[in-house]
Assembly symmetry: C2
Homo-oligomer: 295 residues x 2
């Protein structure tokens, strides 16, 4: 299977499973389910679930069994986007080329849709029907890793810092801290949970986490670059918003040309950590692709 | 041990454990942790954790082992109050005699504090350090029960319906549906998870769930009564707000005097479901106390 076919396969598996885990069947609170689906199926890149599935595979596991965990990461990522876009937070209007969730469903339902997606992530990972053939202790560990990375010491804490630092002069180290929590934590959790479900041993897991940490950094720096130089049409969201909102970005603390160099350097650093694994062709391809993406 | 002492003991165990699970140690995102603590330690009644611990005990389990799950219910309940009070939702200003979370920390941090509490609930239930001596399969089942009850088909779904039905004429059955999701689901999850952790058998669990479902109904009807007849000082929140906000309440659909009768009738119904259990003195006392509470 070539790399693009593998990526397409993973995305299809994830999207089909998301439909199964959160079925859009008629219920009284249908507006809430509609709002969850609206953002869940808005053409995301599915990077976090893809990372989890691939680490599970190269660690020797079966990708189908890892699907509840992969999908949970996407539900958590989606909830965070819905809440980040709210008027009280980043006050965005467009996301992935469409109006933000609260612009379509109103703020109250958008808040609840985020809450319900976060909850659904755990419901999916803890449902015995989804865990056939998985060792319960491995399931608990993988779900715990994802919980930790999403909370006050990971993604949610990073978002708080991002808000605290708006308009405050900062340096590279602060930007790294904020983004390693806001973006990196979930990338690391994807790699770690994938390894845990695949049965990798502890030393290998540490390499996977380091790789994912650098990949997260590369991803975020490229994100900041695209917010300055990107094509609004391709990105599906407004550009130039970081400067406008006085956001703490890598471009702001390092300048555009140093950021471009850093993407190349850190991409190579991240790939170094894949060396103890075998069959890493797809991850190398994916890393390069994310580092040089235009959208 | 008399009933009041048992209640005091449970509340102390839960509050000490909450401090351990979410320590307020100095971190960069300290504002977020402060916001979480502000609402978590605001003098809540801790009914849900108390129910869970007591069902665990009468099913034959050790209450200390059930503490992560009991505390998780309180984190989830607290997150729901923070989000429900937001301007985009019920737009409240007072809760438990103090300004609402968003009035103290701002809307953005209040949203994140809710998100982080919901996440912390799962982190706590899934942390191997907290699960010593618990069968992993029972832990997964109990956590799954709590996840299901909190999400789109339980509490979050109920809140969506509550918003949808504002100002719309309704009947008793609709009010029951909304409140069995919004309040009842978490009461039922407390009873069920307690039984699961205590090792109760399936038929007994169904009785516990039915008891909790009626208790939730009694609790909510009394809540609606107190919103009309209650003492603002005692309650620590404004009264008369349901009428003002055109909320779907039991008082609205049934009138005050029928509601008072129903509290008595449904209290007796709930207690009927405790019959298959032994050592139910405390639960009977607690049920009567909640039905006749003034705050």
């Amino acid at each position: 299977m070539n790399d693009q076919s593998r990526l397409d396969l993973y995305i299809k598996l994830v999207e089909d499973a998301l439909e199964r885990y959160i079925p859009n069947t008629p219920v009284a609170q249908g507006r809430l389910i509609d709002a969850m689906h609206y953002s869940l199926f808005a053409g995301g890149k599915r990077i976090r679930p893809v990372l989890l599935l691939e680490f599970c595979r190269i660690a020797g596991g079966e990708i189908e069994r890892a699907l509840p965990f992969a999908c949970s990461l996407e539900m958590i990522h989606t909830y965070s986007l819905i809440h980040d876009d709210l008027p009280a937070m980043d006050d965005d209007t467009q996301r992935r080329g469409r109006p933000c969730n609260h612009k379509v469903f109103g703020e109250a339902t958008a808040i609840l849709a985020g809450d319900a997606l976060l909850t659904a992530a755990f419901e999916t990972m803890l449902d015995a029907d989804n865990l056939e053939g998985i060792d319960p202790t491995a399931a608990l560990s993988a779900a715990h890793t994802i919980a930790w990375a999403s909370g006050a010491y990971g993604m949610a804490g990073g978002q708080q810092l991002d808000l605290d630092f708006e308009g405050v002069p900062q340096d590279f180290h602060t930007a790294s801290l904020v983004h390693s929590m806001k973006t990196g934590a979930l990338f690391c959790a994807a790699a770690e949970a994938g390894c845990l479900l695949g049965g990798a041993d502890k030393s290998l897991i540490n390499y996977a986490i380091s790789y994912a940490n650098y990949l997260g950094l590369v991803f975020q720096i490229q994100d900041d670059i695209l917010n300055v130089t990107g094509d609004q049409e391709l990105l599906g969201k407004s550009v130039g918003t970081d400067v406008l909102n006085e956001k703490l970005t890598f471009v702001k603390v390092l300048g555009l040309s140093r950021c471009k160099e850093l993407v190349e350097e850190l991409t190579q650093t991240s790939l170094m950590y894949l060396e103890p694994f075998s069959d890493t062709g797809f991850l190398i391809w994916l890393t390069e692709r994310l580092a040089h993406r235009k959208q």
